[in-house]
């Protein structure tokens, strides 16, 4: 029993260390994500639509399997954790090997290495130093920096490029873990909420997505909001002027719009919606005396009376933004001022009170009333609210750092090749002095072969040039 348990543990460990498990996990996570887009998800759909889409029994099954909230279900999280564990284990097992490439360059090839190297050539030379000089200049011409390696009294050359490419896979894997860590931090410590503000309103509490309330250590005030339209009437821009107050003092002011949030103390306020409150802020009226006389312009606000003359005052009695009669009941169809109706109370000294209905969309409409004035609506300003999303995501910086790191890692992985060249003067099997040239590349070997042939051609040409011209030889011997 115990041995079986141990072998099971061993087998699980074996599975965890294999790349194949990683590939299977990638595909399983892909399939689970696909399921999460095909089955309606609880956080995004209301329970009525769910009930309409699935029978109660199906829904019970889907709920039990976590399929109605795949991305927050325990098994999805477990799959992600398994993938992370796999990445960590697989990388940790292979990193020492790659690190050796990186930290301890292999400077001088030994016989067992030479025999296994696919790319190598031998170039006959008369003197070792002229050969090495030719090889050095050929390597320099390729943009490499050859270094002279001295061992056992003989000198050889070593040159390499993009050594860091050996670490590419680890950079990518580390960046992925960084991104996931950022996501975990945000999942645990982050929150999202919503707040609606009207002009001059301020708040320090946010309604959270999950229904809770969050109080802020500062106050946010709305100093104005608006919408701008294209010529065809579709919205072009929404904006809100926000001010942040700490202890009653203004510390930050910003006009935010969609794509341009306000950030304060790690909290970000986004423009998310904009709409009419259904209340009127002010009405511009022109009052014309019925008995003749000059018309006067007045501005009426809710709750304020305006004196038209010594004996007459007017005030707003009621306002309906989108007037409709159902039966004999006055109702509003929406909160937008599509068909506004205004009821005024006109009080005059001898005549008493008169109620006057005004319909700006139908200026001809006039009901006989006892008011000494006739009214025309010049303009009306509605009250608007601006809807702000509020988000706190302390882990997002890890996510962005991870994304940049991953971009770099992928460029290293696909576009940087670790190439190495060795040049060693040796005696070949017939006892002649030759320059042994070997090379290796971490990938793209077919293309690299052409590069290697080019190098050996250049060295040969250099050797020939140097042996026909004795001057540099003399200088080398002189040195």
């Amino acid at each position: 029993m115990e041995s079986q348990g141990r072998s099971l543990g061993k087998r699980a460990w074996q599975e965890l260390r294999s790349v194949r498990t990683g590939i299977v996990l990638l595909l399983v996570i892909g399939a689970a994500s696909a399921a999460g887009t095909l089955v309606l998800q609880r956080p995004l759909t209301d329970s009525q639509s769910l009930a309409r889409a699935y029978s109660p029994q199906t829904l019970r099954w889907l709920d039990a399997l976590g399929l109605t909230d795949v991305f927050h279900s325990w098994w999805f999280v477990a799959l992600l954790l398994l993938l992370c564990a796999n990445i960590v284990v697989v990388s940790a097992e292979r990193l020492p090997m790659a690190w050796r490439f990186f930290a301890r360059p292999y400077l001088r090839p030994e016989p067992h290495f030479v025999s296994g190297l696919p790319l190598q050539a031998e170039i006959p030379v008369r003197r070792a130093d002229t050969g090495l000089a030719a090889a050095e200049s050929a390597l320099r011409a390729m943009g490499l920096r050859p270094r002279r390696v001295e061992a056992n009294g003989s000198v050889s050359l070593f040159a390499e490029r993009h050594r860091v490419a050996r670490l590419a896979a680890y950079v990518v894997h580390a960046s992925l873990l960084l991104i996931l860590a950022g996501g975990v931090v945000d999942g645990l410590a982050g929150w999202r909420g919503f707040v609606a503000l009207t002009h001059n309103q301020q708040t320090s509490t946010i309604e959270l997505r999950n229904g809770g309330i969050k109080s802020l250590p500062f106050v946010v005030r709305c100093d104005g909001a608006g919408q701008e339209n294209y010529e065809d009437g579709t919205p072009r821009r929404w904006w809100t002027r926000l001010a942040v107050l700490e202890n009653g003092r203004e510390v930050l002011k910003k006009e935010i719009e969609v794509n341009e949030p306000l950030v304060y103390r790690g909290l970000r306020f986004f423009q998310s919606s904009y709409g009419s409150t259904g209340e009127v802020e002010s009405i511009h009226l022109s009052a014309v005396p019925k008995l003749g006389g000059a018309p006067q312009s007045i501005v009426l606000r809710p709750g304020e009376g305006v004196a038209l003359d010594a004996k007459t005052t007017v005030r707003l009695l009621s306002f309906v933004p989108d007037f409709v009669l159902r039966g004999n009941q006055i109702e509003t169809r929406s909160l937008e001022p599509r068909n506004p109706a205004i009821q005024l109370l006109v009080a005059s000294q001898p005549g008493g009170e008169a109620k006057v209905w005004l319909f700006p969309r139908f200026p001809g409409f006039a009901h006989p009333d006892a008011s000494p004035y006739r009214f025309e609506v010049a303009d009306l300003e509605m009250g608007y609210f601006t809807g702000l999303q509020v988000a706190y995501e302390p882990g997002q910086w890890a996510v962005w750092a991870g994304a940049i790191l991953m971009g770099l890692g992928l460029i290293m992985a696909f576009y940087m090749v670790h190439v190495r060249y060795w040049v060693v003067p040796v005696a070949d099997n017939r006892g002649r002095l030759v320059l042994w040239v070997g090379a290796s590349a971490s990938k793209n070997r077919a293309e690299f072969e052409a590069r290697f042939k080019e190098l050996t051609r250049k060295i040969e040409a250099g050797v020939r040039a140097r042996s026909s011209n004795p001057a540099p030889v003399a200088s080398v011997t002189g040195a």
Binding site: L27, G30, A34, F71, R192, E257, N259, S272, E393
Partner: protein, 466 residues
């Protein structure tokens, strides 16, 4: 039968070509005659696009001609036609950019415009740089289907809604287009690898028939019990579909068409069943018959497409949901039409393979090169997809206040990424090459197609406008 192709006399080979090019020309003349609606696009752009369509289609014909005959002049003509089409396409992009005053990335029409442009650019690049001349045989039909779809989608230049006014959108979409076009190229290369790698012709037959069955099962969901086919109604005055409620379009029934597509579906099921049975029991006769039925099925599909073009192009039809007669246009059912055209293109490509496999194999670079090129192309696509997702997340974070919200489009982008990540690990860490890698590359592109079209039209989400 197929293996004997190389021995056939040249005259017959050239006749096939003439017929193919002739068919393409007839198709091109028919397209404008059918009066596909061009709602709102400026006339210059429409004619430029039509020019691109004609030349891409001609390029397709010449690439196919080159693939079956191996005549180098055909390859030259094909490249030339692609260049001309590409030039027209570039001008169309420039025109739209100029008119809209912003890069053309904001709706699915504009995305297709950019996608086709990138696809043609990459095809020409791979052809020049790596000398893979037959690549266009697969990518140019894709470009033609793309431009055809564009003719049907609403193309009016619309002002950008506030959420889309961001530089990050342009970065995000440019990366997506480049990445997806690279995926399309890798798909074409993987297909060629499978041909060169001696995957049996029967397997291609089964795969093509399975794809056709899939397409026509999709069409069959529109089957009406009266024997008609339900298509979306079109409001000619508004230039768009009629909606009963949000996401519930009014459907009209075209009588008789349902039975025809039932027949098409049956004609695709038979070769699939025969091929599978033949491969399973090793019966050559069954496979021979499967191929014969497949030829018949291709004709029936062509018939179905023509009938659909004629009936759904115009006319007033009754609806089961409301009283009276309603109009419809091809523009109301772009995805039915795209499915049928892609199905026909795939069927013709298979028939080309069946008739001229030996010649085709001679045209292709060797299997190792194709395998390596597939990997290289995915090596280009994968970093682009990664950065595309990152740019999209950054944009979402600035707009909606959250960098990841598991919305269907972003989830499917992630799935695409996961599949290609699987491919890369298979190759780099486990050294799996060849067929398994090629199947993975094909799966990857299937997921890309679903992400691009399937999610937009089947799954609701925040990306509703793209």
């Amino acid at each position: 039968m197929a293996r004997a192709a190389a021995a056939e006399p040249t005259s017959r080979r050239n006749n096939t070509l003439l017929i193919l090019v002739g068919l393409a020309v007839v198709f091109l003349v028919l397209t404008p005659a059918l009066g596909m609606p061009k709602s709102g696009a400026s006339p210059d752009e429409a004619s430029l696009l039509y020019g691109a369509l004609v030349f891409y289609a001609a390029a397709t014909a010449f690439y196919v001609g080159f693939a079956v005959s191996g005549n180098d002049p055909y390859a030259r003509f094909a490249s030339l036609a692609t260049w001309v089409g590409f030039a027209a396409n570039t001008l169309a992009v420039a025109q739209r950019w100029y008119v809209a005053g912003r890069p053309p990335f904001s709706n699915i029409y504009e995305m297709l415009l950019s996608f086709v442009w990138t696809l043609a650019a990459l095809t020409l690049f791979v052809e020049r740089r790596y000398g893979v001349k037959v690549l266009g045989t697969v990518t140019m039909p894709l470009a033609v289907v793309g431009v055809l779809l564009m003719q049907l989608l609403p193309s009016a230049v619309r002002p950008l809604v506030p959420a889309l006014q961001s530089t990050w959108l342009h970065i995000h979409v440019t990366l997506a287009m480049l990445g997806y076009a690279a995926c399309a190229i890798s798909f074409a290369l993987a297909l060629m690898f499978l041909i060169k790698d001696k995957v049996r012709t029967e397997t291609f037959l089964a795969a093509t028939s399975a794809m056709l069955v899939g397409i026509y099962l999709g069409v069959a969901t529109r089957f009406d019990p009266s024997g008609g086919l339900r298509v979306a109604a079109w409001d000619p005055a508004e230039g768009r579909e009629i909606f009963l409620a949000e996401r519930t379009p009014l459907l009209v029934v075209i009588p008789g068409l349902g039975w025809l597509f039932f027949l098409v579906l049956a004609s695709a099921v038979v070769p699939l069943a025969l091929a599978l049975w033949g491969v399973w029991n090793r019966r050559e006769r069954a496979i021979e018959w499967a191929n014969r039925v497949f030829v018949l099925s291709t004709f029936v599909q062509g018939l179905g497409l023509v009938a659909f073009l004629l009936r759904a192009r115009d006319g007033m039809y009754p609806s089961g949901q409301a009283d009276g007669l309603f109009a419809t246009r091809l523009g109301a059912s772009p995805f039915l039409l795209a499915g049928m055209v892609s199905g026909l293109a795939a069927a013709l490509l298979y028939l080309m393979l069946w008739w001229r496999r030996a010649g085709l194999e001679r045209m292709l670079p060797d299997a190792d090169t194709l395998d390596r090129l597939t990997y290289r192309t995915i090596g280009i696509a994968f970093p682009l997809l990664t950065l595309m997702i990152a740019a999209g997340a950054y944009w979402a974070n600035r707009t909606w206040g959250s960098y990841w919200s598991w919305d269907p489009k972003e989830t499917w982008a992630l799935i695409t990424w996961l599949v290609y990540a699987g491919y890369l690990h298979m190759r780099m860490a486990r050294g799996w090459r060849g067929r398994r890698a090629a199947y993975f590359a094909i799966l990857g592109f299937a997921v890309v197609l679903f992400t691009f079209f399937g999610v937009t039209y089947l799954l609701p989400g925040l990306h509703a406008y793209a």
